[in-house]
């Protein structure tokens, strides 16, 4: 998975990140945001986030893909690869 890049992410993802992190959706759009360091998403929250995204996008995210996730952009890359229709903005 590539490192975080500039840009924003899909509404599906930013809303999911917002829901789990408790942050405003507008503050969850930046691909470069680090889940742990910037959004205080711990392993339990990450598990919840993956479940929410999987359900919303109707995809299965393998554990080894989850294990590499560090940033919001990493999650968008997973969505782009597995659910192209979710639309990066």
């Amino acid at each position: 998975m590539n490192g975080p890049a500039a840009g924003s992410v899909s509404p599906l993802l930013s809303n999911a990140v917002s829901r789990i992190s408790g942050q405003d959706p507008a503050a969850c759009k930046d691909r470069a945001l680090l889940l742990a360091d910037d959004l205080c998403i711990d392993s339990l929250a990450l598990a919840e986030l993956i479940e929410v995204i999987s359900a919303k996008a109707a995809i299965v995210i393998p554990d080894e893909a989850t294990g590499r996730v560090r940033s919001v952009g990493d999650l968008q890359d997973i969505l782009d690869a597995r659910a192209p229709g979710t639309g990066t903005t």
Partner: protein, 397 residues
């Protein structure tokens, strides 16, 4: 790899599909067969009765590796103990006495106690108890040992399970065992056995400093040596270890945020069941000391110790656990969320914990304070819970 949580089956919640999931069953009527066994053993059936479907059994506390953050509290080969023949036979007899469906053998490193491992497999086979899971760091995966070790397991009866597909869980956390050994075991297992004969899983713990899971290194090592990694045969066990929330001594920055008891409670079953297998819930842990716990999670709270199987009948201990108000609440609620109606939300929202087990310990204390009950073994039984290194435990290897 096959995602953890695939193929979860719980009694009374839909059909069972054999040969699916990490903890696969062999027959769709598995729960009926288990229930019939409990009935023969005289264990009462109620909607939320606590009767373990599997015991996670600590065969030895000895380990031939030295991971900095061992979740199992393993000791060195010199300082640890392995259960002796008499104790092993007694324990298996007690397991049979409650019609225990399955045992998972853990440690320490069970394969560093090979004679005891062979004995417990053979004894369980003779008592009609399935060996549901063997856990190992893979040290025996050298070219010389790998095949013969699997031969030994077969000869002991490892493949003779009645209800459950045997699982070999290889741990690649902080072990110093060469990943080539682990890769070789995976190669042997996936080419020697079908998925209906043996399941394979890799338990990966992330490095606390980098948060990198070693499973990626393992896959690289495997693919350099053997070609494409058998993702369709190997089950992953990564989920609850992400970011190492359970490691002691981690810097705060590596364990972001604090998590309320309420959140741990709501996720207990969903995170734990895929790891241990929903069919085995409720589960149990029997340590090498003989202490019986009503949960098999790492770092299980001491108050969930309900007796010592080397000191009193297991049936009495299970009945004691089943009579516990705390255990009943957990059973009825499907995990720690069952405490929502007992422990005030004001407490669970304002109290924080770094792990499921720490949350559980807080909840037991609060539960006991509110109800006036005392979760765990009574004082008389507690006397037997002091780990004693008996001569039979001291040197069996």
């Amino acid at each position: 790899m096959i995602k953890e949580g695939t193929g979860l089956f719980v009694a009374g919640r839909g059909d069972v599909v054999p040969y699916t999931g990490k903890y696969a069953v062999k027959t769709p009527d598995v729960f009926d067969q288990v229930e019939a066994g409990f009935a023969r053993a005289g264990l009462a059936q109620t909607a939320a009765a606590y009767r373990p479907l599997r015991v996670e059994f600590e065969l030895t506390t000895r380990c031939n590796d030295s991971c900095p953050s061992c979740g199992m509290g393993a000791l060195s080969m010199r300082d640890g103990v392995t259960l002796g023949d008499a104790d092993l036979d007694r324990l298996v007899g007690e397991f049979a006495g409650i019609a225990l469906p399955s045992v998972a053998v853990t440690g320490g490193e069970p394969f560093a106690a090979m004679r005891a491992l062979r004995r417990v497999i053979a004894a369980c086979r003779g008592a009609d108890i399935d060996i549901s899971k063997l856990t190992s760091n893979g040290w025996w995966g050298s070219p010389r040992r790998c095949g013969p070790t699997l031969d030994t397991l077969e000869e002991a009866g490892w493949l003779g399970n009645r209800l459950f597909v045997p699982l070999l869980m290889l741990s690649v956390g902080q072990q110093s065992v060469p990943l080539a050994h682990v890769a070789r075991i995976i190669r042997h297992l996936t080419h020697r056995y079908t998925g209906r004969e043996v399941n394979v899983a890799v338990s990966s713990l992330a490095d606390p400093a980098t948060r990198r899971h070693r499973v990626y290194d393992l896959i690289e090592v495997y693919e350099r040596e053997y070609g494409e990694f058998p993702h369709d045969r190997v089950h992953s066990t990564m989920r609850v270890y992400l970011n190492n929330d359970r490691l002691d001594g981690q810097r705060k920055a590596e364990r972001p945020g604090q998590t309320s008891l309420e959140r741990w409670m709501d996720r207990c079953f969903d995170c734990f069941a895929p790891t241990v297998g929903a069919y085995v819930l409720p589960t149990a842990l029997v340590k090498a000391s003989g202490c019986f716990y009503s949960c098999a999670a790492f770092n299980v709270p001491e108050k969930l110790a309900f007796g010592n199987v080397l000191a009193e009948p297991l049936k009495a201990i299970v009945e004691r656990a089943a009579a516990s108000g705390y255990v009943q609440a957990v059973r009825a609620g499907g995990g720690l969320r069952g405490l929502h109606g007992v422990v005030p939300a004001q407490f669970t929202r304002a109290t924080y914990a770094p792990s499921f087990c720490d949350a559980c310990a807080h909840l037991i204390d609060k539960h006991d304070e509110i109800t006036g009950q005392a979760t765990g073994a009574p004082p008389a039984a507690l006397l037997t819970l002091i780990p004693v290194e008996s001569p039979t435990c001291a040197a069996t290897q």
